[in-house]
Symmetry: C2
Subunit: 225 residues, 2 copies
DNA sequence: TGTACATCAGTGAACGCGCGTTCACTGATGTAC
DNA sequence: TGTACATCAGTGAACGCGCGTTCACTGATGTAC
């Protein structure tokens, strides 16, 4: 086994198992036996299970942030100081998200991992991701701010997270949802088809009318459609 | 300790710990020591950890489905066979979701649990929820179908799940998001305030224009806002 | 009213098991002189 | 060119620990006659 093929095999196997069952539910013995690698190799190469989890994320997020920064650079150059439209920003993000894992056919895995990062306990992981990759997200939200000057800052913040929820929830639960959709509507759903469906929904959501301020709020007439 | 106060204490403690850290990360020893109850009591009263997890869900979902059915009955009576507008349906669902846990001040816990049900491995849990509570969800989606006749069935299916993602992701990650929002925008966010923000977004998302069919799809002119 | 027995909630201690991690070790390859 | 030593990837076996579950038991309350 040449000069750390082992490391790659551990990462490849770990990301699949983590995505399928979560971090706590996946033991190092699961990983190493499936990867046909010695149990002690994980601790030898990564130091600990925590560090392995972080390494799995880095392998996706490092190329992602790099590409996303370049894509945003290009966009800024193309618009020469003019405001970049929201659709362009969303499109660029979608394209980058799709491009990265395409190299190893596992967008699903990437999305499941992101979903887990948010929902699983693993406080260390949220901190790690924020520290290492928070910057590119900040850059993106600043551009979104310029593209949506009419939105109050807090409203924009919440709507971005609403949409983040939509995307992560849908794509990370894709397998289960796809099974239902296939059974009920006889259509096979690709990730790209889903992104096509997501586009108008996300744009409409970001451009939705502002909620009434608290004192204006009244009981809606139930007869108004 | 009178006639199964113990059961209540176990459930009260378990739901909080499960919501905070997930199922696998919460041991029976965590629960029983915090609830100041004997370790063996969980297996005595519930039979197993799995059954305890399901009991925690039933305690929320039983009253929820009951109230939701009544609310839908009332709505159908009020509209006497006419189509119930989408806004009414969404409003009714929101009201019911808010009403149930209000009785014990833990909407947050309820939402975290729902989020976990989707994202954690726990296959038994998804099956349990589908079997026990699938019916009311089916009834609701049928009413939504009547309210949105212009949407293709598959499109409606996906949009409902997009919105489910938004709600579950936002409310289940509420604490973390609230911390950020409070720091950056100096506003304290209540769940009710969030629901107020969610309303127009969800409506706009459901009413978004249909995506172009695959053959119509062309590269958008980057200059069009 | 009294006694014998059954039921039930709860307990304390132990069970075997799988976990992440550690440690002493091997054997191949690279480096210094 | 040859030898001694260092470095490095990888290994096999064991470590202690916390886990869910089980089991024999207690003591209070209810029921039958």
């Amino acid at each position: 086994m040449a000069q750390s093929d082992t490391v790659t095999r551990i990462l490849d196997t770990a990301e699949v198992l983590f995505a399928e069952r979560g971090f706590a539910e996946t033991s190092l013995r699961n990983i190493t036996s499936k990867a046909r690698v010695n149990l002690a190799a994980v601790n030898y190469h990564f130091g600990s299970k925590k560090a392995l989890i972080q390494a799995v994320f880095s392998r996706y997020l490092d190329p992602f942030t790099q590409r996303f920064h370049s894509a945003l650079d290009e966009l800024e150059k193309r618009y020469e100081g003019q405001v970049i439209p929201l659709e362009e920003l969303l499109e660029t993000m979608a394209t980058t998200v799709l491009a990265v894992p395409a190299e190893r056919n596992s967008l699903k895995v990437f999305m499941r991992l992101l979903g887990l990062a948010y929902s699983q306990a693993q406080g260390h992981l949220r901190r790690f991701i924020q520290d290492e990759y928070g910057e590119v997200f900040t850059r993106f939200t600043e551009l979104v701010r310029q593209a949506t000057p009419e939105l109050p800052d807090a409203e924009r913040f919440w709507r971005l997270h609403f949409m983040l929820g939509t995307v992560i929830f849908t794509l990370s639960g894709l397998d289960a949802l796809r099974d239902i959709a296939e059974k009920d509507y006889q259509e096979h759903v690709t990730v790209r088809a889903l992104v096509r469906r997501l586009r108008p929904v996300v744009v409409a959501a970001m451009n939705a009318p502002l909620p009434p301020s608290v004192d204006e709020e009244v009981y809606a007439n139930p007869k108004t459609q």
